[in-house]
């Protein structure tokens, strides 16, 4: 049995999902053309049922690629739990009307039920049930209220097979139902309502946005740095490294296997950043240097998402994003890109036109450093002084703006306008927040760990075979001539195709000047997407789009790297 959770965006579907499925959740692998969805299981009596969290949609006549997925998934379900925002009954019932015209049995959850009381909304659920012909259960997903009752009533789910109607007829039906079941009394503005208004009006909203972004940055930095400084580094230095030193002695401090597993020794010691052994740097980069930042970043991003702040940012930045050929909503994939390019490029599907998706995906893969790369930039460049970190970020930001301007002028097609619902601020469900955080962190470990180890393995093999020397000599004119980096830096550039974090780590042993390090980090970020991002980029943009993106990438990297070399 397969149960679909369907409803408008921002009705608390994810919180509902994590309530009903418990913690055993798997993130699906974005198969084919679907936008990511989550799958879990629940017990129905003795039977185990599969539960799918379908992307939010307002209607079954899809108006965007993400909505298309929702209507395509419909025939695969045996039962639909239609989740409604009880404080917005009228609009939410439109989708319900469409669902009731189909053959799949439906049960309705009136979510956010607790909000209706202080908003002065009174809904007669018994009467609503009568009108719809399917069970209606009030729920509060954040606290879990009503979830059990809903699960108990799942067997009553029905399909009234209403006759197919036109849009106006559906609204008319919705209107007459609303008149009978809902009474509204006046309610006063709460402080949350006021905060909502102040954060969307530009005069107050823009300073608030600057504050929120700055605060996010510092909190992420604070959590990441302290986790590394007080937990991960001591763990590696005190426990793991001594163990590895003994293994190093056992292997005779040299030889092929020593180089692969332990890597190079510096003054007879292992250097977690520079040794480049599978068991030393190969574990330290993902777990010691990057994981703390991944955790911190996704915690803050999840909070901003679940509180409902991101759509406000989209409205405030809409102006700016239009200059880049995008609209405000594109800020959401862009923010995701600060975590990882893969979900970010996939999230460009929320944009309607091909042109927008091409521009957004290209900008993300060139100018937005992922969390793994950023963690390494903080680690390596931060050592030399904060001003150099600012230089890396400043350069990338200017590149993002300039490239956007240029792409906006040159890429053909049209960019539609912003049209989004701005959800009210809500206290997030910690359960849903932690589930999401866990899925994202687990995703990083699952996807990145093997590739990082593979990358480190490849580096030691290729070093041993002397392949890098040949490449280094061949590419010296560009690497040294244009970027002003030692020719050995080409190793990092090549490895950048596998993993950006490992690549930036490879700059560590080259004894670069601070300026060269800045150039190195910028070039590595821009030059080529890592293999995971490359695959999604190819799938999302098609062959021609991919070629365009790569062409832009190469030209931009050469120009920016060369310019930086002249300036620094």
């Amino acid at each position: 049995m397969r149960i679909l959770l369907m409803g408008n965006p921002n009705v608390g579907k994810s919180a509902f999902f994590s309530r009903i499925t418990g913690t055993k959740v798997i993130a699906s692998n974005y198969p084919g053309t679907t936008v990511g969805f989550t799958k879990g299981h629940m017990m129905l009596g003795v039977e185990e049922a599969e539960v799918i969290d379908v992307p939010g949609t307002y209607t079954l006549e899809p108006t965007s690629k993400a909505e298309k997925v929702a209507s395509q998934m419909l025939p695969d379900g045996d039962l639909i739990i239609n989740i409604l925002d009880a404080t917005n009954l009228e609009r939410n019932l439109y989708l319900t009307m469409e669902l009731l015209e189909r053959e799949t049995p439906v049960i309705v959850a009136l979510n956010m039920w607790d909000d209706t009381k202080h908003r002065g909304i009174d809904i007669d659920t018994a009467k609503l049930e009568e009108h719809l012909g399917v069970p209606v259960v009030p729920t509060v997903a954040v606290t879990g209220e009503g979830i059990k009752e809903l699960a108990n009533r799942i067997p009553e789910a029905a399909s009234p097979r209403m006759p197919e109607r036109t849009r106006d007829e559906r609204w008319a039906t919705v209107g007459s139902i609303i008149n009978e079941v809902q009474t509204i009394t006046h309610h006063h503005h709460t402080w949350l309502d006021h905060l909502q208004d102040t954060s969307i009006k530009p005069l107050t909203g823009l300073p608030i946005a600057a504050l929120v972004l700055a605060a996010s940055f510092f909190v992420i930095r604070f959590i990441g740095e302290n986790l590394i400084g007080y937990v991960m580094e001591p763990l590696f230095e005190k426990l793991w490294v001594p163990l590895m030193m003994r293994l190093s002695d056992l292997l005779g401090s040299g030889g092929f296997w020593h180089d692969v597993l332990i890597g190079k020794l510096f003054d007879g010691e292992i250097d977690s950043f520079q040794s480049m052994g599978v068991l030393t740097t190969g574990l330290f980069i993902p777990l010691g240097a990057v994981l703390p930042y991944i955790l911190a970043f996704y915690l803050i991003l999840g909070l901003l998402e679940d509180v409902g702040y991101l759509p406000r940012l989209a409205v405030l930045l809409d102006n700016l994003m239009h200059r880049l050929g995008l609209h405000g909503y594109a800020i959401i994939p862009t923010m995701l890109g600060l975590g990882c390019a893969v979900p970010a490029i996939l999230a460009t599907r929320i944009l309607e036109s091909r042109r927008e998706r091409l521009i957004a995906a290209t900008l993300i893969s060139i100018a937005i450093p992922c969390a793994a790369a950023q963690a390494m930039i903080f680690g390596l460049v931060g050592e030399r002084g904060a001003q150099y970190v600012v230089m890396v970020y400043g350069t990338l930001f200017v590149v993002w703006l300039l490239l956007g301007f240029i792409l906006n002028r040159t890429v053909r097609g049209f960019s539609p306008e912003l049209l989004i619902e701005i959800p009210p601020y809500r206290l997030p469900s910690w359960r849903a927040l932690l589930t999401k955080l866990w899925m994202r962190v687990y995703g990083f470990l699952k996807e990145a760990l093997p590739i990082i180890i593979l990358a480190i393995f490849a580096v030691s093999i290729l070093y041993t075979l002397g392949v890098f020397d040949a490449i280094a000599d061949f590419t010296a004119p560009v690497v040294s001539g244009v970027f002003g980096l030692p020719k050995e830096a080409v190793v990092a550039i090549v490895v950048g195709f596998l993993r950006k974090d490992v690549a930036i780590g490879l700059l560590a042993p080259l004894s670069l000047t601070a300026g060269q390090l800045v150039i190195g980090c910028v070039v590595l970020t821009m030059f080529f997407p890592c293999v995971a991002a490359f695959v999604v980029l190819a799938r999302e943009l098609g062959f021609k789009g991919l070629l365009t993106a790569i062409g832009v990438m190469l030209v931009a990297t050469l120009a920016v790297g060369g310019l930086l070399n002249l300036v620094l």
Binding site: R167, I200, L419, I420, I422
Partner: protein, 80 residues
């Protein structure tokens, strides 16, 4: 009481309410606005707008919706 007059959402003042009378646009635009509940006969209130051709935020029932500048010029409302 003032005579009802027809203006676009863009022309409304912040805090002003009106009834949607028409969406000037193709079926695509009409469909997208419709799915968000913005359709003739519906009462909306303008919340704010961003300067320099920025989007307009309106309230419809208890939902806030942000509408791009161009679109906001194509939604006609009747205000009194």
């Amino acid at each position: 009481m003032d005579e009802p007059k027809r203006i676009t959402v863009r022309q409304m003042r912040a805090g002003q309410s009106g009834e949607v009378v028409q969406v000037l646009g193709g079926p695509g635009l009409v469909n997208r606005l419709n799915s968000l509940g913005i359709r003739p006969g519906k009462r909306i209130t303008k919340v704010s707008s961003v300067f320099m051709r920025g989007p307009v935020t309106i309230q419809i029932d208890r939902a806030h919706v942000a509408i791009g500048y161009g679109m906001s010029n194509r939604i006609l409302v009747e205000v009194t």
